[in-house]
Every structure is written in structure tokens, then in C-alpha cells.
């Protein structure tokens, strides 16, 4: 077992990417009570918007702009018909829409831009960002237990700054009068309406902000890996939910802690499995690790429904 692998995943860009997406989901569910079951779709919108723009010759900034605007439009598209209805409808529509994005992405129809089911290779969209790296020349740099390429150090720096800024934004907004109205909506929409607040508009704002953060997570993820539609399926959305609920919904640091623990646990089980079950074929290790994540989620709901940092009086799954 290599403890360094676990330490590396804790700070990896992937963990930061999922922390961003989980903070986005925290705006949806933790703050507003919206059941967004398609956060992976927002991540896909983000990574496609960014990677296609850059690979077609657009600048990095234009790529970021397009991916975020894409998320805003996607949120409007999903929220417009569903936010006036009961919460279940948003869940149905988002889960289907996220799959639509993935299936369109992997279809051969738009292969010229999306790369079809093979996606886009890193060198098609990563260079503009990597060229901005202050860590030159490119090489492997070791620091304590961490050993990464300079481009990864640069990406991690930017990604974790983004996570910190976003967590700060969540803290500020959740403790503002705006956040208070959203918490009221989470409890009872009609009560909030009777007090003269525009519930529909506020729910839409929360959906947009959370979706934009999902897209930002998608951009970071694409930089840490590559654009691959099937890496963001339905299961990914449930991972993000697990992270949020594990850390504690409606808390500032919950989604970050959740993402870190989720990935650390995932790598830990992947390392432990071959030691305990030496006959296990390698391709079954990852599914086994995911099965344990599922068991973990069940235990969480039974024994600590409010998550690690959550306040049971404010939000919990069993109520």
C-alpha cells in the first residue's frame, strides 16, 4: 500500500474539480432544497464549452466565458419549465438533460467538434493554460510526499484558489439576507411567497450559480484529465451527491471535506482490495471500490444523516 497515493489524491485537481461541483450542488440542495440530479451535465457543458472553444482556436478566456455562459443557459433551459412545479420535476428533467448532453457529446454527429465517443485529447485544449504556468521549465517537482509535474502544480494552485474563493462566496451568500430567503424556500415555498418574495426568480438564481460552479468544476476536471463524455455519466452526479451529504449539506466546508474523503476512501479501497483479495481481477477493483462507496452512503444515512459537519436541526436526510 502506498500512502503517498492517498495523499496525492487529496490535493489532486480531480478532487478540487469535484469540490467545486459539490459546492455548486450545495447552492442547489443545501441552500435551496433543489433536487438537481444532473450536476454531471453541468460539468460536461463546462468542459465541452471550454475545450471546443480552445481547440477551435479561441483563447482560454473566451473558453472560460463560453463554458460559464453555457451553464447559465443550461440552467435557464432546465429551470424555466420545472421551477414552477413540485421539486420532483426538476430531478426528472435534470437527470434526463445531463444524459442528453453526454449522448450528444459522444455521438458521431458532431464528431468534428466534440471528438465523438473518444472525446478531445488534452493537447487540443490544454496548452494555452499550461503556457501561463509560472513554474518553468516544465519538469517533475517533488515537495514532501507530493511529486507532480509543474503543469499539475500550476493547475492545482489555480484550482484550489478557485475552491477557496467559491467557498468564501458560499459563506458570504448563505449568511446574507439572500441566503435566508433561499433557506426559507427550502423549508416552505408558500410561506416565503406569502411574505412577498419572488420564489421562482430566487430558485432560478440558485440553480444558475450552482450550475456555473459545476461547469467550472468541469473545466478543472478536463485540465486534470481529458474531455471524455462517458467519464461524466449518471454515476458522477451521485458521486457529487455522496460528497455533499458526506461532508454536510448547507455547510461551507462540507462539500470540500466530502470531496477529499470520497477520493481518499476510493483510492484507499483500491489499494487495499488486492492485498485482501489477491485473486481479484484488476478490472474488478474499481467497481468493488464503488460498491464500498455505496455502502458508506447507506451507513451515513443511517448513522449521521446530516453529514460530518452538518447540523441535524437544520438539514438532514431522514426528515
Amino acid at each position: 500500500m502506498d500512502i503517498n497515493d492517498i495523499l496525492q489524491i487529496i490535493v489532486a485537481p480531480t478532487t478540487a474539480a469535484f469540490a467545486l461541483a459539490a459546492i455548486g450542488l450545495n447552492f442547489h440542495y443545501g441552500l435551496t432544497g433543489l433536487f438537481n440530479m444532473g450536476q454531471a451535465g453541468f460539468m460536461l457543458i463546462g468542459m465541452y464549452g471550454y475545450a471546443i472553444t480552445v481547440s477551435q482556436g479561441g483563447s482560454m478566456w473566451l473558453g472560460i466565458l463560453i463554458s460559464l455562459v453555457g451553464a447559465v443557459l443550461f440552467a435557464l433551459f432546465l429551470g424555466w419549465p420545472t421551477l414552477r412545479l413540485r421539486g420532483d420535476y426538476l430531478a426528472i428533467v435534470t437527470i434526463a438533460a445531463a444524459e442528453m448532453v453526454r449522448l450528444i457529446g459522444r455521438s458521431q454527429w458532431l464528431k468534428e467538434w466534440t471528438g465523438g465517443n473518444t472525446g478531445l485529447r488534452g493537447n487540443q485544449f490544454k496548452p494555452p493554460f499550461e503556457n501561463l504556468s509560472p513554474f518553468q521549465p516544465p519538469r517533475i517537482v517533488e515537495s514532501g510526499p507530493f511529486s507532480f509535474h509543474t503543469t499539475t502544480w500550476w493547475l492545482m494552485l489555480v484550482a484550489w484558489i478557485a475552491v477557496a474563493v467559491t467557498a468564501g462566496l458560499f459563506w458570504r451568500l448563505s449568511k446574507s439576507p439572500w441566503g435566508r430567503v433561499l433557506k426559507g424556500i427550502r423549508e416552505d415555498e408558500d410561506a416565503v411567497r406569502s411574505l412577498g418574495k419572488s420564489v421562482y426568480s430566487l430558485k432560478m438564481q440558485a440553480l444558475i450559480i450552482g450550475g456555473v460552479l459545476g461547469a467550472a468544476g468541469g473545466v478543472v476536471w478536463a485540465h486534470g484529465n481529458a474531455v471524455q463524455p462517458d467519464s461524466m455519466g449518471r454515476v458522477t452526479t451521485f458521486w457529487i451527491w455522496t460528497m455533499l451529504l458526506l461532508g454536510g449539506a448547507a455547510t461551507v466546508l462540507g462539500p470540500i471535506l466530502g470531496s477529499v474523503l470520497f477520493w481518499a476512501m476510493f483510492v484507499f479501497i483500491k489499494q487495499l482490495a488486492p492485498l485482501i483479495l489477491p485473486d481479484l481481477p484488476p478490472q474488478q477493483i474499481e467497481p468493488l471500490a464503488l460498491a464500498f462507496v455505496g455502502v458508506g452512503l447507506i451507513l451515513l444515512i443511517v448513522f449521521r444523516p446530516q453529514g460530518i459537519l452538518g447540523d441535524k436541526r437544520e438539514i438532514s436526510l431522514d426528515a
Binding site: 462566496l169 458570504r172 451568500l173 446574507s176 439576507p177 439572500w178 441566503g179 435566508r180 430567503v181 433557506k183 426559507g184 427550502r186 423549508e187 416552505d188 408558500d190 410561506a191 416565503v192 411567497r193 406569502s194 411574505l195 412577498g196 418574495k197 419572488s198 420564489v199 438564481q205 450559480i209 436541526r313 437544520e314 438539514i315
Partner: protein
């Protein structure tokens, strides 16, 4: 001059849809159908300003539906209405509340997973921090927040909930939640408050203070319209009673006259509401 308030209803005819000297609400030709059922069918309806009006009637009479129509929680199939000379047609429930007509609910809607003081603050209007962009800059809304908090504490004190301000609303008793809901509605300084069964589920000890609070609202210049089944309460505090049955207004008048009205007894109170059940059998 005698130190008595003039009777606002001195010259008002006691008949369905009668005109009031200074109406705050005027509604005409309001109908609401659910499939083939006509839940509300009101020709003309006025509510007198600065008075307490009770809306009574049997279950299924359409009182709550009518309430929902007036407050924008439901839209009528036909008809027009005004509140303070403002057109109510097509107005959203949030806009009705902002215009100064705030309601409470039959099933109390205290926000249980928020603290009492946060519930109260939520009731305030004109808080620029409820805009997502200004919310990010605390100095822009901090001052208003302090004002709102002071107002909330004052109201909580009046409703004897001040020592509970940091508790979650869910930990309050049913009656306290009713009080909280009413206090929260007052945060917006409304000109009219609509109470949907304010006494339902409230224990007798609290009933008295709730009644006093409602009368105090009138003394402060507010208009009150309430739905209630408790005839004792209706008789005690209302200036005017409107009776609905099967979607229509069947009678109006001062409490004592209305309760003596044979049509009202037939439709609602029952013709033998004074007689003892066992006497009847014997």
C-alpha cells in the same frame, strides 16, 4: 364629542354583497371552478377598512379558496378585484404581499428549520441584501439588517417569544408557532392581514392572548379578515361577519344578527345549535 369611535357599519345594509363606506377590498363576479365543481361564485364583496371582518361557513363552502384567490395563491376563472384601488387580477402572491396584504395559513407555516429570529427577519421588506449582487457586499445591507432585527425583537417581545429568538422554530409549541407566523406577517408592516383559522389547534390559555393581539392590530389601524370556525371568537372580536355556503355569500351583518339569521342556521350552525343533543333525542 363623545370619546366613542363611530360605528363604521352604522349605515351598512345587512345583506350579501353590501356596500361599505370605505372598502379596502372590492371584488366583483369572482368564480373559481375545479372541473365541474364551482368552488367560489361571489357576485360582489367588499371589506371595510380598519375593521375586523370574519368569514365563516361550513366546510367546503369555498372560504379558503376565496382567501387564496384574494391573496394571489390561486387565480379566478372570472371576475375582478381591487385592493387599496390596485387591481388584483393576475397579481402574484408575492406582489400582493408587497402591496400590503399579508396572509397566514390554516396549517401553520413556521419555517421549522430556521431560528425564530430568522423567521422574523424573513418577513421584512426593502432589504436590498435579498438581491444576489448586493448580498455579496455586507456593508450595503448591514444597516437595514440592524433595523429589521430591532423591529423583530420588538414584535417578539409583544408576542412573548423574545426569549425563544435563537431557538429553531420547530422546537416551539403549536400555539407559539401560530403566534410566530402572525408576528412574522407583521414584519412587513401590512395595511391588511388575512388570517386563515388563527385559532385552529391553539390551546384555550393562548386563545385569549391571540384574541387580544388581533384586536390590537385593528387599534393600530390595520384591517383584518379572518376565516374561523370558533363562533365564540367570531362573536367576540369581529365587527362584521360574512357567511359563505356552497361558494356563495349567503349573509352579511353584525355578529349577533348574522347568527340569528335562519338561513345561516340552516346552512352552517344548524337549526338546533342551541339545544342539547340528549334533550333532542328524548
Amino acid at each position: 364629542m363623545p370619546d366613542m369611535k363611530p360605528n363604521l357599519f352604522a349605515n351598512v345594509e345587512a345583506k350579501p354583497g353590501s356596500a361599505k363606506p370605505d372598502p379596502i377590498i372590492v371584488a366583483d363576479g369572482i368564480t373559481r371552478q375545479f372541473g365541474g365543481l364551482t368552488a367560489v361564485d361571489v357576485d360582489h364583496f367588499e371589506v371595510q377598512r380598519h375593521a375586523i371582518t370574519a368569514l365563516i361557513g361550513p366546510n367546503g363552502a369555498g372560504k379558503s379558496t376565496f382567501f387564496n384567490l384574494l391573496t394571489g395563491f390561486d387565480s379566478a376563472n372570472t371576475g375582478t378585484g381591487t385592493f387599496n384601488d390596485m387591481k388584483l387580477d393576475g397579481m402574484s402572491s408575492a406582489n400582493v404581499a408587497r402591496a400590503g396584504m399579508v396572509r397566514t395559513f390554516q396549517l401553520t407555516k413556521a419555517l421549522n428549520r430556521m431560528s425564530v429570529i430568522e423567521n422574523m427577519r424573513l418577513g421584512a421588506q426593502h432589504q436590498s441584501g435579498e438581491n444576489v449582487f448586493t448580498a455579496m457586499l455586507a456593508p450595503l445591507w448591514r444597516k437595514r439588517e440592524d433595523e429589521v432585527t430591532a423591529q423583530a425583537e420588538e414584535l417578539l417581545d409583544r408576542f412573548q417569544l423574545l426569549d425563544k429568538q435563537d431557538d429553531y422554530a420547530g422546537s416551539l409549541s403549536g400555539g407559539q408557532r401560530k403566534l410566530l407566523e402572525m408576528a412574522r406577517a407583521l414584519m412587513s408592516k401590512p395595511s391588511m392581514i388575512m388570517l386563515d383559522e388563527p385559532m385552529a389547534g391553539v390551546n384555550p390559555a393562548l386563545t385569549e392572548s391571540l384574541l387580544d393581539h388581533i384586536v390590537a392590530l385593528k387599534d393600530e389601524g390595520m384591517t383584518v379578515l379572518f376565516v374561523e370556525h370558533d363562533m365564540h371568537m367570531v362573536r367576540r372580536i369581529s365587527d362584521w361577519v360574512v357567511v359563505m355556503a356552497q361558494g356563495k355569500i349567503i349573509a352579511e351583518g353584525d355578529p349577533h344578527a348574522v347568527m340569528a339569521n335562519p338561513a345561516v342556521q340552516d346552512a352552517y350552525l344548524g337549526s338546533h345549535h342551541d339545544t342539547d343533543l340528549f334533550e333532542e333525542r328524548a
